[in-house]
Each structure stands twice: as C-alpha cells, then as structure tokens.
C-alpha cells in the first residue's frame, strides 16, 4: 500500500515536472515571438534517450498521454473547418491544392528514396514535407492582424484542401504501415477510403443531424460525449488497422455548426495539454546521438520545402488576383510546418519502420516552424 502510494507520488512529481517544462518552453517561445512546438520538441530531445535526465516512472503515462494528444490534434483538425468551407475550398482553389500536393509531397518522397529508406518511410516523409501547420499559420495570421488581408482567404483555402488530402493520406499511410501483401494492401486501402468517403458524405448531407444527436446545452456533457465518441471511433479505427488518428479526424469532420464551435472551444485546452505531451514524447524517442548525421540532409530538404511552399503560395495568390506584396505574404504564410508533420512521423516511429525518420522529421520541423514563422513576420 505504502509502496503504491509512493509510486503514484513519483509519477506525479515527474508528470508535474514535464508539464512545467512545457509551460516554461511555451513562455520562452512566446517571449521571443516563436511558436511553441519547436521548443517542446527540444525539451523532449533533452529529456529522452541518451540524456542524463531521463524519466522513469511516468513514461507509460506520457506514452498514453501522447496517444491521446494525437487523437485530439486530429479531432480538432477535423473540427476546424465546416463542411461548407471544405466544399467551397475544393471548388474554388482545387488547382492550387493540386499544385501544393505535387510540389511539396514530391521532395520528401524523393529524399526518402535518395537516402535509401523503405518506400513506406519515404511516403511518410512526403507527408511530413507536404503538410503546413494550420495551427502555427492561423495563430500568426491573427497575431499579425492579417485576417483582413485579401490574400488570407487564399492561404486558408490551401490549408482547407490540405485538410482533405490528409483524409486520404492518413488511411493510406495506416494501411501501408501494417505492411501486408500488395493485393491485401489494395483491398485495405479501398476499404479505408470507402469509410472516409462515407464519413465525408454523412458530414456533407447529415452533419447537422449527427451534431444534434450528440449536442447538449451543458458544457460538461458535451465534452464527455464528444470525447467518448472520438476515443471510441479512434480505438475502433486502430483495431481495424486504419490508425486511430483517422478515426478521430473523421469524427471531427462529421461534427458541425454551433455545437462544433462550442466543442472546439472546450476541447482546445485539453488538446494543448496532451498535444504538449505528444511533442515531448516524440522528442524523447529521438536519440540525440542520431541527430547530427541527419541535420545536413534535413537542412537541405527544409530549404527545398520552404521554396516549394513559397512557390505554391505565390502562384495561388497570383491566380486570385493579389498584388505583389500580398503574393509575398501568401508565399511566406505556407512555409511553417509543425504539429501534423510530427504526427505523420510519429506514425512511422511507432511502427518502427525507419530509425532515422523521427530525428529527420524533428530537425525538419524545428527548422521550418522557426524559419517559416520568421518569414511570415518579416516578409512585410
């Protein structure tokens, strides 16, 4: 009994320390005007493998917390846009979205093959280089008072389409990671995409019905219902090997209206806590000793990734009839990578396919989260 109590005490002390490390990193980041994700990753690197200040008792909890963090990150990504916004985004800016995929997925995929990685790891690296951090971009656009700018709707449209691409990318990645034979994989991908299609259809046609079913005027009950449904869907998706992240994302997409807005406000602080644990845990899994050899290739890929995103933003803004200065701002606004690149790399490290993927993605995100934010700030 006494033993149990003291273990619980040790876990609480470590967990408290980890949360405080997150808090201090976040404050530091805010002080210098940077997003907090890169500092969370650095904190994780310092706490993780090959570091003298390793954690002992709380690793299990942090691992589960990190899983919850991924689920919540994806739920909130799904909740971010209404079905109406998804529809308008596809209709208006699909060509910019297509250019975005081609220009920004290819560098990662190619780099993976050049490094001689497993094809699945290369595919994931493509996802890492592709996805812009909607969290960092939206936060900075607000901080810099750019929501009124005309190029902003173009930037947000591209982010919306990335959101839809994730709905296809994640299940395919999930299936590829399981690593079955080619025909089995084909069938699984078809099933996964079928589920996604049905979920999107339900969202477009009957989104309000689903939302009304789950809604409650009490914030407490709303929170419990949405969290319960999401974790259940995420767990079931994991059971059928589609990856928990996909399940959570689809639930987010299906909810809409006032209820989605209230749910978003309630869930954001919880996401921030567990998301923070996820970034720390991701950093912890990266062995610092493995970092130096990947820094140079990651830097090269970051330069290419920044250029290809900037090109996408410039082209999309020009197509929308935006002036030169607006085009420059749009170009800078797509560069930051962040939470979802880490999520995608996290899928790979969890499956253990390529030992260098974690460190590579961490370095890439560190460079472009910081570099992209600075570019957005100083472009004008």
């Amino acid at each position: 009994m006494i033993l149990a109590a003291s273990t619980a005490g040790a876990v609480l002390v470590e967990l408290g320390a980890v949360l405080l490390v997150l808090a201090v990193s976040g404050r530091l980041a805010a002080r210098v005007g940077l997003p907090s994700i890169p500092l969370y990753l650095v904190a994780g690197l310092l706490l993780g493998e090959g570091s003298p200040i390793g954690l002992e008792g709380s690793t299990d909890f942090i691992r589960i917390g990190a899983d919850l963090g991924v689920v919540l990150l994806l739920l909130l990504l799904g909740l971010e846009y209404t079905p109406e916004e998804l529809r308008t985004g596809i209709r208006r800016d699909w060509s910019a979205g297509a250019l975005d995929v081609v220009a920004n997925f290819t560098p990662g995929l190619a780099a993976g093959f050049l490094l001689g990685w497993d094809p699945v790891a290369a595919f994931l690296l493509g996802g890492v280089t592709y996805i812009t951090s909607s969290g960092i971009v939206a936060r900075l656009l607000g901080d810099l008072d750019r929501f009124g700018n005309r190029e902003t709707s173009t930037v947000l449209s591209v982010l919306v389409i990335e959101d839809i691409v994730m709905a296809v990318f994640l299940p395919v990645a999930g299936v590829l990671l399981v690593g079955s034979s080619l025909t089995d994989a084909g069938v699984s991908v078809a099933i996964a995409l079928g589920v996604v299609a049905v979920a999107l259809l339900v969202s477009f046609r009957h989104g309000t019905l689903v939302s009304r079913l789950l809604d409650s005027p009490s914030p407490e009950l709303l929170l419990l219902t949405v969290l319960g449904v999401t974790l259940l869907a995420a767990g079931l998706a994991d059971r059928v090997r589609v990856s928990a992240a996909v399940g959570a994302f689809l639930i987010g997409v299906m909810l809409s209206g006032q209820m989605a807005e209230r749910g978003r406000a309630l869930l954001t602080p919880i996401r921030d806590v567990f998301g923070g644990l996820f970034f720390i845990f991701f950093g912890m899994q990266v062995d610092i000793g493995e970092l130096p050899p990947v820094v140079l290739p990651a830097l090269a890929l970051a330069v290419v990734g920044a250029a290809s995103k900037a090109g996408t933003g410039w082209w999309a803004a020009r197509r929308a009839g935006i002036g030169i200065r607006g085009r420059r701002r749009a170009a800078a606004s797509l560069i930051p990578r962040g939470e979802f690149s880490v999520v995608i790399a996290g899928l790979g490290t969890a499956a253990g396919i390529e030992p260098r993927l974690g460190g590579f993605a961490a370095a890439y995100v560190l460079l472009l989260a910081v570099g992209g934010s600075l570019a957005m700030r100083f472009v004008d």
Partner: protein, 159 residues
C-alpha cells in the same frame, strides 16, 4: 453600395466595401462572435492599415452609436423624458443566463422590477416580448427600469 462577402475557413466571414469617399473597409465576423473592423491600405489594397477587435458587447454599442435600429432612437427620446430611467442592452450568450429559456423563466419583472421591452435578433427587432418568449444565444435584450433593477436583470439574463 456593393458588399463583398468572403469565407475565411476556420475563422469566419469577411465583408468589405468601398465607401463613396474612396475608403475601403471591412468587417470580419469571427466564429466565436467577436467582430474585427478593418481599414484597408490605399497603397497596398491587399493588406489592412489597421484593425479593431471588438467583443459582442462592444459591437452592439458601436452599432448603437452608428444609429442602428429605430427602437434605439425612440428609447433615447424616452430617456430625456423620464428621469432616473435606466436602459441597458444585454447580449445573451450560449449556455449562460437565460439563453434557450423563456423570459418568464427568469421572473425578471417580479424579482427586479425591470422589464425586457424588446429583443433584437439578427436584423429583426421584436418589440414587447411576452413571458412565454424564448430567448436565444445571440439575442440582445433591451431592458428598461431603475438603475439597480436593470443591473439585477442584466445578471439574470447574461448569467
């Protein structure tokens, strides 16, 4: 006057127009109910010179000052005539106060002596709502009474 509407995914909707004097201005309606007033830069038409962020309450006040509804003008006249009369616009927020319930539920008149004399909902104003009238989040209730009575009624309505 031509009003342009642009969807800002994840943020809200932006409305903009050019005034007769040549100034471009816009309003961003955030999903969380806040409003942002935007003045565009004449040299760089894509960016804004200045933005003003306003809460729901502040927006309601600004609209009043700009001469929003007929009800307001009448009430302003009334204020001059009755000394000690207090008038307050009370916005209702989702999940708080009397949002989603009837005016009668709050027993406002019995408890405070003040009355809800009108409700603004979207573009419509509903004068003289009865006790069975169901208030919704986003409504703005016009409360009239003594100073203390209006304050107490505000507590009930807004939560």
């Amino acid at each position: 006057m031509e009003l342009f509407e642009t969807l800002l995914p994840g943020v809200g909707v932006r409305y903009e127009f050019t005034s007769a004097a040549g100034d471009r201005l816009g309003v961003i309606v955030r999903r969380d109910g806040r409003r942002e007033l935007v003045l565009y830069d004449k040299r760089d038409p894509d960016s804004c010179r200045d933005t003003v962020m306003m809460s729901g309450e502040e927006t309601a006040t600004l609209v009043e000052l700009l001469g929003g509804t007929k009800v307001t003008e009448r009430i302003a006249d009334l204020m001059y005539e009755v000394e000690g009369l207090s008038i307050e616009w009370v916005p209702l927020e989702a999940g708080r106060g009397l949002a989603g319930r009837t005016i009668g539920d709050g027993r406002i008149r019995t408890a405070t002596g003040a009355s809800v004399v009108a409700v603004l909902r979207g573009d419509a104003s509903i004068p003289g709502p009865g006790p069975e009238f169901v208030l919704e989040a986003g409504d703005v209730a016009l409360v009239v009474g003594s100073h203390d009575g209006v304050l107490a009624a505000q507590q009930l309505l807004h939560g």
